[in-house]
Every structure is written in C-alpha cells, then in structure tokens.
C-alpha cells in the first residue's frame, strides 16, 4: 500500500521537497543543540520548560481528538463519518509522532531516554505519559492501516481489529488526561494545580482537533478532489462549537475561583498572563488576542447561517486553532513557571535555534500526514471509481 505515496503530480512532489528542506534545517539545528546543549533555547532554571513542551501539550490534544470521529463512527455507527475517520486516525498518528519528537528535543540526555522504560517508575506521571502515548500511536497505526488495507482489497476488515478500535476510544481520553496530570499534580504551581485542568485539556482538544480536521479535509478537497462529505463537516463543526464553549466556560471557572477567593498564589498566574504582574506582562497581548479570536470564532460558529458557509467556517476553524494554540501552547506552560516559586518574574523568549527545531518537528508531522493521507485518499478514490 505504501507504494501509493510514490505516485503523485508535481505539486505533490514540490510539497514533499519543501517539507524535506524545512526538516533538514530542523535537523541541523537539532545537531547544533545536541553538541552545544539546551542553552541554545530560551529556557532557564526558572522557566525550565518552553516551546517544546508547549507544542507537545497542544499536539497530545490534536492526537486525542481523533476520538471525535472514531467514537461516532464505530460506536454509534454514524455513517457520515465513513470517509473522514481515516483522516482522523492518521492525523492522530502524525500528532503523536510529533509529541514524541518534541519530548526528545526537550530532554537533556536523549541518549538515556530508554531509562524511562528500563527503570519503570509508576509514581511518575511522565512514565505513564510515555506508556499511553506509545500505546496510542500503535493502536491508531494498527486500526487505521488494517481497515484501509481491507478496503483496498474490497473485503470487510478482519474481526480482531474491532476490539483494537474500541480500545483506542478510552485510550484517547487517557492520553490527554495523563498529560494534564503531568502538570496538575505539582505542588506550588498554582496555575496548573486545578482539578479542571484535565477536563479543560479535553475540551480544548475536542475544539482544536476537529477544527484541524475540517481544515485538512478542505485542503484534501481542493488538492486531491477528495470530498469527506458535507454532513461530516457540519457535524464536526457542531462538535467543535460545543467543545470550544466548554473550554471557555472552564477557563471562566478558573478566573472565578482565583479572583473571588482572592488568594494571591491562585491569582498570580492568571494575573501575569492576562493583566501583567508587578508591571511585567510579556504575554498579555498574546493572551487577549487568543481570547478575542477564540470568542469571536465561537460567535461565528453559533450562528447557523455562518457556520454552514464554508468561508466563515474555515475562518472560525483557523481562529479556534490559533486561539487554543496560544492558550495551551504558550500561556499554559509559561504561566505555570511565572511567577516562579520564589515569586519572581522571569522572562522567556524562544530563540532562533529552538524555533527552527520546532518548525522542523511540525514539518516532520506534516510530511507523515501528507504521505499517510496520500495513501488513504488514493485507496478511497479507487473505491469511488469502482462503484
């Protein structure tokens, strides 16, 4: 089946070459980081996680969101998702690989990464996160690939794959819950020390994930002539709307608890992010931009006339993705570290090497997604020709 990825037009190959060029700058920057150290990032002893871990957190959500098409299709037999379910699964595969790459990029001694498995430590949430992420990757590769190969041969998928797919459903929730537990269980990091962190992660994931899925489907329709179907897109936009509203609702809960209780520690993180603390507010414009764009997109989605217009829908999808990416991929991580446990304001700005690695990892993910979708679309289109 893999051979289908090698047949494409000039635009397809141009795109692949472009991605490879960007990846190679990322690889070069990574080698740079490997030989010099993580000093080539903007991180410090106070802000000890940065853009890598932030991307990781955002992408775990994208990976988990595949369940929003898998669940209706396989559990409720919702036929309209028949064509989009494979896109969701392959998006999850690409996103999970990016997550793993971001972890590798972040750690100081990648040569020792197997220590996590050689000395399994169940009391560490990172051990569980590594376990569930690798498991999720395997589940999605196996279920996506098996169902697709069966389709290519024109036979029903083997029976054993059903339990694998069913297992992937709770597993999707687990990856983002455990990822939230990385943060939510740490004493002294008030922004993270909240019981709604995992629910909020899931809500933002189920908004941003379907938004990306709609955008990918639109691109596929334009470039490959593969139509996932109007009904599928409509349903996804409804899911996205509910999830985005839930996300903002939960964010509102955070504000209420922090500011009504008036406990300084609880307020500091949000104050730093949204209003500035002790005159310092590096991220204030970004956070408000995220808030306004996010709420604006929700408004667009709430109006059925706009939601069903493709142009408005695409704008809203981009808005939701950008908003959640800033909130989860920038604010959440930095706001957990600043103010520091010693109540100091320490700045963080990713440097160029770090950004090139980040773009490189994204390009790896997009390349994997391109190849997987090329295969999926070719198989699905053959179907259409036959019938």
């Amino acid at each position: 089946m893999i051979e289908k990825a090698f047949k494409g037009d000039r635009i397809y190959w141009g795109w692949i070459v472009l991605l490879l060029v960007i990846i190679s700058t990322g690889v070069f920057s990574y080698l740079n980081q490997l030989t010099t150290g993580l000093t080539l990032t903007g991180m410090s002893r106070d802000v000890s996680w940065g853009v890598y871990i932030a991307q990781f957190t955002f992408l775990v959500g994208v990976a988990a969101s595949a369940v929003m098409v898998v669940l209706p299709y396989y559990l409720h037999n919702y036929k309209a998702f028949g064509k989009i379910v494979i896109i969701g699964e392959f998006l999850a595969v690409a996103a999970t690989i990016m997550c793993i790459l971001f972890i590798v990029a972040d750690i100081g001694r990648p040569d020792r990464i197997l220590n996590v498995m050689l000395y399994p430590t169940p009391n560490s949430m990172l051990f569980w996160d590594a376990t569930v992420l690798n498991g999720y990757l395997l589940l999605n590769i196996v279920s996506g690939w098996t169902v697709l190969s069966a389709e290519r041969k024109g036979v029903p998928p083997p029976k054993w794959v059903k339990p694998v797919i069913y297992l992937s459903i709770p597993w999707a929730f687990s990856i983002h819950t455990v990822t939230a537990f990385l943060y939510a269980g740490l004493p002294g990091r008030h922004l993270w020390l909240t019981a709604v962190l995992a629910p909020r992660f899931l809500a933002s994931a189920f908004a941003a994930g379907p938004a990306i899925l709609i955008l990918v489907s639109t691109i596929l329709k334009k470039t490959a002539g593969f139509d996932a179907g109007k009904e599928a897109i409509n349903k996804l936009s409804v899911i996205m709307t509910y999830a985005a509203i839930l996300n903002f609702f939960l964010l509102g809960m955070e504000f209420f608890t922090a500011f009504y209780s008036n406990i300084p520690g609880h307020m500091h993180g949000l104050q730093y992010l949204f209003f500035g603390l002790h005159g310092e507010g590096q991220l204030v414009p970004y956070m408000w931009f995220s808030m306004i764009v996010g709420l604006g997109s929700v408004l667009v989605l709430l109006i059925p006339k706009l939601r069903t217009s493709m142009r408005w829908l695409i704008a809203a999808c981009i808005g939701i993705v950008v908003s959640i990416w800033i909130d989860k991929g920038v604010g959440l991580i930095i706001g957990g570290f600043v103010p520091t446990p010693l109540e100091k304001i320490v700045g963080y700005m990713p440097n160029i090497n770090e950004i090139l690695i980040t773009i490189g990892v994204w390009s790896v993910g997009i390349l994997i997604l391109t190849i997987l979708l090329k295969i999926a679309v070719t198989v699905k289109m053959q179907d259409q020709v036959k019938t």
């Binding site: 106070d46 750690i107 001694r109 020792r112 996590v116 560490s124 051990f127 004493p187 002294g188 010693l342």
Partner: protein
C-alpha cells in the same frame, strides 16, 4: 428501565457497599474510622533524618562564605547572569524565600535581610515523586534527597515539581565555568539536573556539610532531626521556627529561626 436491570443495579450497589464494609474491617488502611493527623504535622522517628536549622539572627549581612564554600567543594560552575545559572545554595529576600508568610508591617530588618535558600531534603519530596527514572531519590537510611547524575535523562520534571526552585539544569557544559576543579567531587555533564546534596560525600567521611563548617557565626546548624538530643532538636525545642511553604505537605528538613 426494565425490572431486571433495576434489580441488577440494586444488587451490584449492595455488593459494592458490602465489599467496602468488609474491606474496612479487614484492611486497617481502608478503615473509615481511622483518624490521622495531617501528614505535614506528623513526626516519624525511624532512623536518621539529616536536617538543618538556620539561625538567621546570626547570619551576617554581606557574608557569602557558606555559598562560596559549597559551590567550590561541589564544582558548581559560575556562568555570569541568570541564563545558564546553576546554584545549590543562595540568598534571597524574605518575600522570595517565604512567599505566603505574612508580608505586612515587616520590620526593617526582616524586609531588608537576605535568607538562605537550598534544597529542603523534604520528607515527602515532590521531585522524587515526579522523576520518571528514579534518578532523584530519597535515601531511606538518612532522608537525604540524592541525585544519580548518570541516570538522569534531563527531562526537568523535578524542576517543575520542586516548589522551592532548588534545582538547576546544566544547559551547557559546566566544566569551562568552574574556577578550580575539586577532584574529590565529580563534575557534571551537560544535560542533567543537580542540586544541594547535604554534602553526603562529606557526611560519609564524618565531616559536616561544607556550608555549616564554613560558617564561623554558627548560623547554620546540622544534625539528626530524629535524635531528641541533637543540637538541631535542641534549637527546635527552644525557638519558634519556620519551614518554607509547610502548607504544601512536603515536610522540609530545613528550619529557619527568624
């Protein structure tokens, strides 16, 4: 809902309740009646538990000999500025070392004074809980929270977990920034975390920690918290002391007399 289902749910519910009831009788840990003091206030006295009492009244302004001694003994590099900074023990203002303690109407002395910050060698260390490889661990025999520099993968989860900012990471090769290498203690490699080790290497030779030995004012007192006759216990007995952020339940082994 049909009758069978209702009956099933009722029976399952009863079964679960009965199970919990039985378990609470048989397994003492699961008993509902057990009343335990908050772990932050419990004292366990088994084995040695190294601890420190810092008598801040005796610490002289402008004296950093304890800090210099520690960093020299342990080959702690000195990168100028905060970007790649590594520190095991340092001094900071009251509001930074004791956030959450009362900051209103502070005396001039308290407001302007500097206070030691170092690893608290917590009895319930969050960093140990977070570490995915047991590269940081609490030594059962003396309570020291130690590091295995050869196992650490540099994920920095411990740094996120520590509520005292006591941990540093080797963002670059530390060796060029070490003024004079002490061959008696290993230097670290790039990419691993490090912190105060309560001078476990000196304790093994019967010596006191370097910072304690260096302080001629007697501001730093070291000893076994589990030994009722130790000097630290005597100080704790006769003075009102503070632990940093005791509300977090980490049970620090470093106490402050203000």
């Amino acid at each position: 809902m049909n009758e069978n289902r209702r009956e099933f749910i009722r029976k399952t519910g009863l079964g679960v309740l009965a199970g919990i009831g039985a378990a609470s009788g048989i397994i003492p840990g699961a008993s509902f009646e057990k009343v335990a003091a908050s772990p932050a206030h419990q004292d366990e006295a088994t084995g040695v538990r190294w601890g420190m009492v810092i008598d801040t009244r005796k610490c002289r302004d402008g004296c950093n000999r304890c800090i210099d001694a520690c960093h020299e003994v342990h080959n702690v590099p000195d990168f100028k500025g905060t970007k790649d900074e590594i520190k095991w023990i340092w001094k900071d203002p009251y509001e930074n070392v004791f956030p959450g303690e009362s900051g209103q109407f502070l005396s001039k002395e308290t407001k302007e004074g500097l206070y030691h910050a170092l690893c608290n060698h917590c009895d319930k260390p969050p960093c140990v809980r977070a570490c995915p490889t047991k590269a940081t661990f609490k030594r059962k025999w003396d309570g020291i929270v130690a590091m295995d520099y050869h196992r650490c993968i540099g994920c920095r989860f411990c740094m996120a977990a520590c509520p005292y900012g006591s941990r540093s990471f080797n963002w670059r090769d530390p060796r060029p920034a070490i003024k004079k290498i002490n061959p008696a203690y290993p230097t670290r490699e790039r990419g691993v975390v490090e912190k105060c080790n309560f001078c476990s290497e000196r304790l093994a030779q019967g010596m006191k920690p370097a910072c304690v030995a260096e302080c001629s004012e007697g501001a730093l007192v070291f000893g076994d918290l589990n030994d009722p006759n130790s000097e630290v216990r005597e100080l704790l007995e006769n003075n009102h002391t503070l632990q940093r952020r005791s509300e977090l339940g980490t049970r620090p082994s470093v106490f402050y007399i203000l």
